[in-house]
Amino acid sequence: MLKIKGLKVAVEGKEILKGIDLEIGDGEVHAIMGPNGSGKSTLSNALTGREGYEITAGTVSFNGENLLDYSPEERARMGIFMSFQYPVEIPGVSMSNFLKASVNAQREYHGLAPLTGREFFHLMKGKQKLLHLDSGLTNRSVNEGFSGGEKKKNEIFQMAMLDPSLAIMDETDSGLDIDALRVVAEGVNTLKSPHNSIILITHYQRLLEYIVPDFVHVLYQGRIVKSAGKELAKELEEIGYDWIKKEVADGTGK
């Protein structure tokens, strides 16, 4: 699905990612963990094509396409979805207009006719039911006045509507109480399939108790310094990142 090779990314001339290699297969869940400032968000921004993230070296191939050649909206239409750490409020733009534009842009890209109002409504109702979401959210402006938990649930709802092949969950657990976290995690688990892959970017192990990763990677100083199975997350939670920092300093990592 996704192959990242030697990816280097600079922000305002400063190199943040210093050579990332990562391969994600169909249906896999990868957790990317690491201390603050290690480059986790830079990776998600670079993959989604955000302005200001300059790719200085490396390649990213997504289902055989050179991802870096495409604009942010094209990448989204190709099936890359990011759940934002801080979902943006867009006053005056209704959730349903926003989602309709979004779903139909994706359909157009794949040569499909736009959904009629009725079809769209049914799709929306169906996904709301699937995720046990409050239908009131769709009558409001995008994220406007939503609580932290509502915003994250709304991200999962959008993910359900767009059915991406790769979902990048950027610190989805931040700012969530345990109940909201459970709802969000259940949503993600419901949407998981053998064809869809997930990147979980998180600082804490907490989320990984609900969404169990196949692989855990530790990002530190712009590099993946450790990769292992799900047990690595548990270890990190118990003893923190200091031992990894020490290993890197000693040159004994990997």
């Binding site: 989604t48 094509g49 955000r50 302005e51 604009s71 942010p72 909206e73 989204a76 239409r77 979805f81 990011m82 934002f84 979902p87 943006v88 409020e89 867009i90 006053p91 005056g92 733009v93 207009n97 926003f98 989602l99 534009a101 979004s102 842009a105 994706q106 890209y109 402006s141 995008v142 959008q158 767009l162």
Partner: protein
């Protein structure tokens, strides 16, 4: 002569134009002309020190050359003029040419029972009485030299009146055609009077028809008697070379309701001076405006609200989107006078600069001399929210479409407040039309 020498060369040209003209007006108008040119000579055009034209005084030097005054003769028929579709006007259209009611162009029109419409100078005896009590009652007190200039030059104008208890549900469109075969100055005049309990919705559509460049100085006086209600909307769609100053004076009595929707669309410089005088209890004024200001356009809104009596409310909301080298100005003043207790007065002006070359000046002001009032004012100048733009792109929405969604949402907040459905539709389309081609 001494005074004249202090005037700018553009102002001097107006004075000599006045001296050269033959004035065939009725005596009462001649008297206004003479008095007003003296006042104009004294003041000249607003200068650097004039606070209300602070951002705009340069515009007068740009009026440029013009040969003459306008004309009330146009080589078009009513159907030709109505064929120029801009907004859905509905069935009731009154055509004025350079501010003057045209008998020949309106002869085919069927106006509703109870509506009096005609030229100020050509109405019956009954109407003349009304005109003499209302005409220039507000404008005559203005300090603005543009009003003096208008008072020195106007030859006639539109009189629209609904005597007591006349309710006209359909919007009345006044299609004002600015036309001149050569560059010209045009002093235009309207008087709108609503008697007690009357109700109307007026759509004032100001257009240029195959015209050379013009400088129009328009003065509209509106009187709302007790319990009357008026929705006055305006679009100004002039040619790219034309400049227009429209000074509107409204005067409200007890329990009256006024809504204005002032929406400049096209023109080199369009200045609206809205002077709202709330002079009766339990009266309400809602004042709105919206524009996309495009290339080489300068739209300039001045609003002054005087709360003179208690228990009244006013609400202002003006929004502007500026693209390319568009320039805008907003000057808003609320004055709550001493006796205007229990006033609610609100004012908002929000602006979005879509390019680095666009310029907006805004100046909200509040003077409160009463102690039991609720007032607020606020102005913002912002840019396109890049975070929101990326958020939408990440959901597959193209950058241009995302931008349009956001701008329609921004405009929608004011459009939702419009009463006139045709104006709502027109302005929604206008935002899309004017911004549709806008790229970075």
């Amino acid at each position: 002569m001494e005074q004249v020498s202090k005037l700018s060369s553009v102002a001097k040209r107006f004075v000599s134009l006045f001296d050269e003209r033959t004035d065939n007006s009725p005596e009462w108008i001649k008297a206004i002309h003479k008095e007003s040119i003296l006042s104009f000579k004294e003041k000249g055009f607003p200068g650097l020190k004039n606070e209300s034209y602070k951002f705009s005084h340069d515009e007068f030097s740009l009026i440029g050359e013009f040969d003459s005054e306008d004309t009330d003769e146009v080589p078009f028929t009513r159907s030709q003029l109505l064929a120029e579709k801009n907004i859905d006007r509905g069935a009731l259209t009154v055509i004025t040419i350079n501010g003057m009611y045209s008998e020949s162009l309106n002869s085919e029109a069927a106006f509703p029972e109870g509506m009096i419409v005609g030229n100020l100078c050509e109405t019956g005896e009954q109407e003349q009485k009304m005109i003499s009590s209302f005409f220039n009652a507000q404008a005559g007190k203005s300090e603005d030299s543009l009003v003096d200039l208008n008072n020195a030059f106007f030859r006639d104008g539109l009189f629209l009146c609904l005597p007591s208890n006349v309710v006209i549900d359909k919007p009345i469109c006044i299609l004002n055609v600015n036309y001149s075969g050569k560059p010209a100055f045009s002093a235009q005049r309207n008087l709108i009077v609503l008697g007690e309990g009357s109700k109307a919705s007026v759509l004032y559509e100001d257009v240029s028809a195959f015209s050379e460049k013009m400088f129009s100085d328009n003065v509209t006086e509106i009187f709302l008697d007790k319990s009357s209600s008026l929705d006055f909307c305006e679009i100004q769609d002039l040619n790219d070379k034309s400049r227009s100053v429209h000074s509107i004076f409204t005067h409200q009595k007890d329990n009256s309701f006024l809504q204005t929707e002032l929406n400049p669309v096209r023109g080199a410089w369009i200045r609206n001076n809205l002077n709202v005088s709330i002079d009766g209890e339990f009266a309400e004024a809602k004042l709105y405006g919206l524009s996309v200001i495009g290339e080489d356009q300068y739209f300039d809104q001045y609003t002054k609200v005087d709360h003179l009596r208690s228990n009244c409310s006013s609400d202002q909301h003006y929004k502007y989107m500026l693209e390319k080298n568009g320039k805008g100005a907003f000057f808003g003043m609320i004055h709550v006078h001493r006796d205007a207790q229990k006033t609610n007065a609100y004012q908002k002006n929000n602006n979005i600069l879509l390019t680095e070359k666009a310029v907006m000046n805004t100046r909200p002001q509040l003077i409160i001399d009463a102690d039991d009032v609720k007032c607020s004012h606020g102005a913002t100048i912002g840019q396109m929210d890049e975070e929101a733009l990326f958020y939408m792109q990440q959901r597959g929405i193209g950058k241009d479409e995302a931008r349009m969604l956001m701008m329609n949402a921004f405009a929608g907040e004011v459009i939702d407040k419009f009463k006139n459905e045709k104006m709502k539709k027109y302005m929604t389309d206008m935002v899309t039309r004017k911004l549709g081609g806008a790229k970075e």
